[in-house]
């Protein structure tokens, strides 16, 4: 067999192998083990250190393209906050669907908690244009930046916003971010106002956030499906309610732990292709020119 043909294997064959590799764990989940790492444990520990009534901001800074990676993260973090009776202020600064992601996620997760009261325990403030200007203005008054919530309700009468006036009353900002927005929270809100910032991002964005993590400008980085699955694992290891939630087959379909099976298989396929490609490269005498 001509080795050069193997060196320049038709890309459609690669696509087919990747598609089959991705489909198998979707049809029959493997349930591979997940081991939490320090960048994820940082956020878990921070939320565990808070007292009931403390407040956090969760900013939905992503759109539908990042939904499969960041929705499981959002679900796990929201569940953790609501279980610990931490007050949650939801907002979005990403224009292409950030607020839609927030509405869907918050409605779904909040419905799991019967005692939760809108406007008291949590509020969805909606989208605000202006990015960094909005983030900066929140340091003065959250109500001024968001005079109405996502449904158009007056925020000045909401108990949660009477208690949480600005960053002084916020324990941590969690940005579920695509692109550069996570950096803005670190550059501006952490650097200028000293609020701890954690970022949940897509796997491709994760490497740049390690610089912020190392410098202390972020307390945690949840990178892609792996970060989300690690957070789910932390919840399952520590709480009975989480083990119950994440054993529900309907919930497992949406969970990052299930998605990690697909990611694991596809990574292995890519690694095998890389090794195979290099073997062929040397076997053909380091073919040049392509």
């Amino acid at each position: 067999m001509n080795l050069k043909k193997l060196l320049y294997i038709d890309r459609r064959i690669i696509y087919l192998v990747v598609a089959i590799g991705a489909l198998i764990p979707i049809i029959r989940p493997i349930g591979l083990p997940v081991e939490p790492t320090d960048p994820v444990i940082g956020l878990f520990d921070k939320l565990e250190s808070l007292s009931p009534g403390d407040a956090v901001i969760i900013s939905y800074d992503y759109g539908p393209s990042s939904e499969p990676e960041l929705n499981p993260m959002s679900s796990a973090i929201l569940r953790h906050c609501f279980q610990r009776e931490i007050k949650v202020l939801i907002m979005a600064v990403f224009p292409l669907g950030g607020v839609n992601m927030a509405i869907r996620e918050v409605e779904r997760i909040a419905s799991e908690f019967e005692d939760l009261e809108y406007g008291v325990d949590y509020v969805n403030l909606g989208y605000k244009d202006g990015g960094q200007a909005a983030m900066k203005a929140l340091a003065v008054s959250i109500r001024d930046v968001f005079p109405a919530d996502v449904d158009g309700n007056d925020t000045s009468t909401m108990p949660i916003l009477m208690e949480v006036r600005n960053y002084d009353d916020v324990e941590v900002v969690i940005s579920l971010a695509t692109g550069i927005i996570g950096e803005w929270w670190a550059d501006l809100v952490n650097a200028q106002f000293g609020v701890p910032v954690a970022v949940g991002c897509t796997a491709v964005s994760a490497p740049k956030y390690y610089a912020f993590l190392r410098s202390g400008q972020m307390i945690a980085v949840l990178g892609g499906l792996k970060g989300a699955s690690e957070y789910e694992e932390l919840l399952k290891r520590n709480f009975d309610w989480a083990r119950e939630v994440y054993s529900d087959p309907a919930e497992m379909k949406l969970a990052a732990t299930t998605g990690m099976d697909v990611q694991a298989i596809v990574h292995v396929i890519i690694i095998v292709f890389i090794i195979f490609g290099n073997i062929m490269y040397f076997a053909t005498g380091k073919e040049k020119g392509r």
Binding site: S65, G97, D144, A206, N278
Partner: protein
């Protein structure tokens, strides 16, 4: 005069926040807060500007029947339909300002289309990795080995194969060499942004004003 007024305005609104940052007195920061609110409004106006530009470019593409012009029709139709239902939703203040048709289109078209685009990356990355990750020289080999370690460290198989050593090794690569390189890139980009901002504030960089007719 057409250029002097914008230059003076740029200088003032550029310098004031810097001044206010170093002089946090109430009388100074009050104006700065007003500027922040004004910036949010100005940013909102960037959207219609973008829409006008997009419509103009695509209309001319359709008129001249340039390559891919049917896609321009799809784009404009999508823009008109989503804008129509978006505006109706805001006026009627239905669920969170989202008209049911807008939400339906978003959930069943925008969302799956964007997710599909992103998902295609897995296929392209696999194909590109097979072709590009070759141990051609020392640098490429280092990159190749680091990539395999990080990829294995991001999945449970890595630890299974190495008795739990792959995740710490992958985290070390991310925390040390990667973070160091990222830091350099970030600091470099920040210095570039700062120098460009100073050039704009001082009126040295004027391309944002458009072509001069003076």
């Amino acid at each position: 005069m057409r250029r002097t007024i914008p230059l003076v305005l740029t200088f003032m609104v550029g310098m004031y926040p810097i001044f206010a940052f170093f002089v946090p007195h109430a009388s100074i920061s009050g104006v700065n807060q007003w500027l922040d609110r004004a910036l949010m409004i100005v940013a909102a106006f960037a959207l219609p500007l973008g829409v006008v530009n997009l419509v103009g470019m695509n209309l001319s593409k359709i008129k001249q029947k340039r390559a891919g012009w049917p896609y321009a029709i799809v784009l404009l139709a999508g823009l008109v339909v989503m804008t129509y239902f978006g505006v109706i939703g805001v006026i009627t203040r239905q669920h969170a300002g989202f008209h049911p048709t807008f939400q339906m289109l978003f959930d069943n078209m925008v969302s799956p289309l964007q997710a599909t685009m992103f998902s295609l990356l897995a296929f392209y990355v696999a194909s590109a990795a097979y072709r590009a990750f070759r141990a051609r020289n020392v640098e490429a080999t280092i990159l190749l080995v680091a990539a395999i370690i990080v990829m294995l460290g991001r999945i449970p198989f890595g630890d299974m194969l190495t008795g739990g050593r792959m995740t710490p090794l992958s985290e070390w690569i991310m925390n040390r060499p990667n973070a160091a390189a990222q830091r350099g890139i970030i600091i470099g980009a920040a210095l570039g942004a700062a120098s460009m901002s100073i050039r704009v504030i001082l009126g040295i960089e004027r391309t944002y004003l458009g072509k001069s007719r003076d």
